[in-house]
Symmetry: C2
Subunit: 215 residues, 2 copies
């Protein structure tokens, strides 16, 4: 079997890759330490090589540094989180109120990630019956970024408790940009094998066997 210019990965790499997956967390507790811009750019460069439908590269990264814009994100989170809390009752309400679900005030680096839903790049290949492929391509870029960050010791937290329109307004994005994620990035206070929601008693992990079948 001819594989010109192929690249093989050994068992050591595969074991470390498994560790990377195992030690990746959604991080909400950051130290005050600044993050070197070079590290963030390295992660973004790798994200830009992620799979995208039709090679459309529909990801649009906006790093939000301006304090006024950042406050708008805090505001929409607080509004949405209060509304979410109101949906819960009994023990769930008490537990939800105790969860720390974001690090918006602490994370030194913050990225709003959008999908350009009207990009002509890729000439529409693969998007006709599944237009959502544009958003999914952006999610692969986010996951690449997340793993690249963790490989550098950086923590990433994905905040979805917010109004997408409020984030778009804070970023002054046009209507064809669809918010996919708001990411908090920084140095984690702790590195953990267990998801914070599991430690907090909110949810537990389930084995693959429950989610796989063969037909």
């Amino acid at each position: 079997m001819l594989k010109p210019h192929g690249k093989s990965f050994d068992s050591d790499f595969r074991a470390n890759f498994a560790d990377l997956i195992a030690w990746r967390r959604d991080v909400r507790r950051f130290t005050a330490q600044a993050v070197d811009e070079t590290l963030v750019q390295e992660c973004l460069q790798l994200a830009n090589m992620s799979p995208s439908v039709g090679l459309s590269q529909p990801w649009r990264f906006i790093e939000l540094a301006d304090p006024v814009r950042r406050q708008a994100i805090v505001n929409t989170f607080e509004k949405c989180n209060a509304e979410a809390l109101a949906d819960y009752h009994g023990d769930d309400k008490t537990n939800y109120a105790g969860l720390k679900l974001e690090g918006l005030r602490e994370a030194p680096v913050q990225l709003a990630v959008f999908a350009d839903t009207t990009t002509t790049k890729g000439k529409g290949v693969g998007r006709k019956t599944m237009p959502e492929m544009t958003a999914y391509s952006v999610v692969t870029a986010i996951h690449t970024f997340w793993l690249a960050a963790r490989a550098r010791g950086l923590g990433v937290g994905w905040v979805s408790i917010l109004e997408p329109e409020a984030v778009a307004k804070a970023c002054e994005t046009p209507e064809n940009l669809q918010l996919i994620a708001y990411l908090c990035v920084g140095w984690p206070q702790q590195e953990m094998l267990t998801p914070e929601l599991e430690t907090a008693g909110w949810e537990t992990r389930t084995d693959l066997s429950a989610f796989y079948k063969k037909l």
Copy 2:
């Protein structure tokens, strides 16, 4: 800074991880060689540790082995691909007709991946204002699977030129399962640094600078 039980990754790992990202391709040309079931399960086990909103693990993997079900996927691809071709004109039409966009007849392993949009796991956390987070969680699992497969020399191709309802019917899934991806998995005929759509002259890659700004 206390980091109990932390795991660090060295520069060798980071360089190999960058190679993994660079050498991951959407593969449509597979050899006839069978794939050991253990390898697929290893990749699925890692996928099951992907980030998911509220720890909801909404991914549902259906491995499709039955030839009749597989033929239904070929049928919906052929229908959708003919319809897509009809949208193009001139050189684009000629070029599109020459693209090989899937390996549905050759890939020894095929997976339909769904999102359970009504799962109660995670108790709805993070899904109230952005219910699409369920689908996005499944995409992170697919990307983990893809990278884990590539680290084992396996190729993965994501087919989106099909009717999601036809795939759901072939898989006999209930309505709350939303198709996210149909994956072809096998040994690639070639390993390439350049995306096939770029080699075919359909689209080129663009630098990160076009997709990033700071506000």
